[in-house]
């Protein structure tokens, strides 16, 4: 089995750069999408192993993407880690309500983010065979 694929939906290049570096170092392949629509389309057409989804994205926001993913057969069970900003309690609550598997607040520790992605990959293992 090859490397696990992470779809990173984030529009801030200076967040993308370290995240991509870290995820690559942890052994993942990373697809980056800076636009909400493109990220949604990619997730539906070729579901990754885990999606790391920022709340604020151009086009459509992270909540809307998550909601559409959960309403589509192809991505209903796609593990999603949401990135929210610290202090935005409403965002966190909404993320969990909409169906995020985990969320992490910015600013985050690298180890925390990698551990969260690894946990999602691990949790999804049994389902992946017939996913």
């Amino acid at each position: 089995m090859g490397s696990k694929r992470i779809l990173l939906a984030e529009d801030e290049p200076n967040i993308v750069a370290p995240l991509q570096y870290l995820l690559n170092r942890a052994g993942f392949d990373v697809d980056v999408h800076e636009d909400g629509h493109a990220a949604l389309q990619a997730a539906l057409e070729d579901p990754p192993d885990v999606m790391v989804l920022d709340v604020m994205l151009p086009g459509i926001d992270g909540f809307e993407i998550l909601s559409r993913l959960r309403n589509d057969q192809r991505s209903r069970n796609l593990p999603v880690l949401m990135l929210t900003a610290k202090g935005q309690r409403e965002d966190r609550e909404r993320a969990l309500k909409t169906g995020a598997n985990l969320f992490i607040t910015k600013p985050f520790a690298n180890a925390e983010l990698i551990a969260a992605v690894e946990q999602l990959v691990h949790d999804a293992q049994p389902d992946q065979a017939h996913g």
Partner: protein, 449 residues
Amino acid sequence: MNDAILGTQIRERRRQIGLTQVALAREIGISASYLNLIEANKRRIAGQLLQRIATALGMDAEDLDGTDERRLSQALDGIARQPAVQKFKAEINRTGEMIGRFPGWARTLAAIADSEQSAQQTARAMADRLAHDPFLGETVHHMLTRIAAIRSVAEILTDVPDIETEERNGFNQLIADEARGLTDLAGALADYFDRAEEAEQTLTPRDEVQAFFAARSNHIPELEDITGPDQEVRVSDIIQKIVRETVFETDMARDLAAQALLGYAFLAQQLPQQSFLQSATDLGFDAEALAQATGMPLPGICQRLAALPPNTDRPRFGYLKADASGAIVQMLALDGLPVPRYVATSPLWVLYRARQIPGQIVRQRAVFSNSIRVVFVAHAHNVAKPGFAQTPDYVTDMLFMSDEDAAKTAYAPDQSTPLEEIGPAAHLFPDASFDQRAEHPFQAAESRK
């Protein structure tokens, strides 16, 4: 009608005007025992009897009718039932009695509760505004994003020893970029709060008038030395011109400024500057002596002293007038002397002391928390209608000057004059007990520096 209040009110009023139960009963044509029942709130009254009682007590029947009291009673009941104060077990069943016996206290309590409620509403509205301000929300989000990038990259740089040089350089550049962006955002945020603070500082019309006079050092040369048969017309024209050429935020400020200028012109006419200056110099700028010499009341003398043309050779005076509540209603300010708006609330202020001994000049030598030393000279007088049992209404006129300038006047303090420490706000006094010291307050203030 709230009879529980009405009877008590009748009794209080009757005692206040020194009438016995028997005498009042006779006057209104009922028995003393029936009046006793009414006063004990055990009989309801209305109509003609109420009218007769009111007349005998020298009141309007409406005053006894109780509409106001009923409203007040409801308000007080509401206060007593608030969860935060229920533990005090306010005697709700005796609210009417309290209003009847202590109407002033009852209204005070209701007014405080009212003001607290409106303060709470303001606080809630402001908290709400802060939580939903789109600019703040977005700026904080951008700041957190940048901090997240910096933190993540910094961790990579410290935790990954074998990082490629090219990547290291790229990440270093990224930290530099993000730090710059963060600085810009922090600056924008600070600007935003500064602007918000400015917007909160709404000037009252009186503030505007005060600022207008302060900008001219309280001296209006255009209104000095106007003589001749048409002087009234000329004064009016000049005032109109000055007001027209000045930017005021409100019409009320413009009107107040015009009024103040008219007062200025009147005093300038009564006390022409050259001769007044000569007398003032001769008499050591002693306001009382000047009042006697010129026949002008003290407030006019004080304002004229504050309006002397600025000149470094002679002392400069500020002037303020405070109403009975201690609020400043007129001020001719002096640069660098931070006199707060509500000054008389503290016993340390000379204004307060002056009201204790109306008609006498009181002097105070004070040091502000910023080390500025000032001498205050205050005089309170009663402006209420004279008459027995009339509550006095004291207006206080106050001159103030720097400690240095006071030395050139009749108010020069000597070594025995205590130097009292006061803050710009009464509750911020660095040392409220300072005033009470018996020994060498002057030295104590010196060593404090």
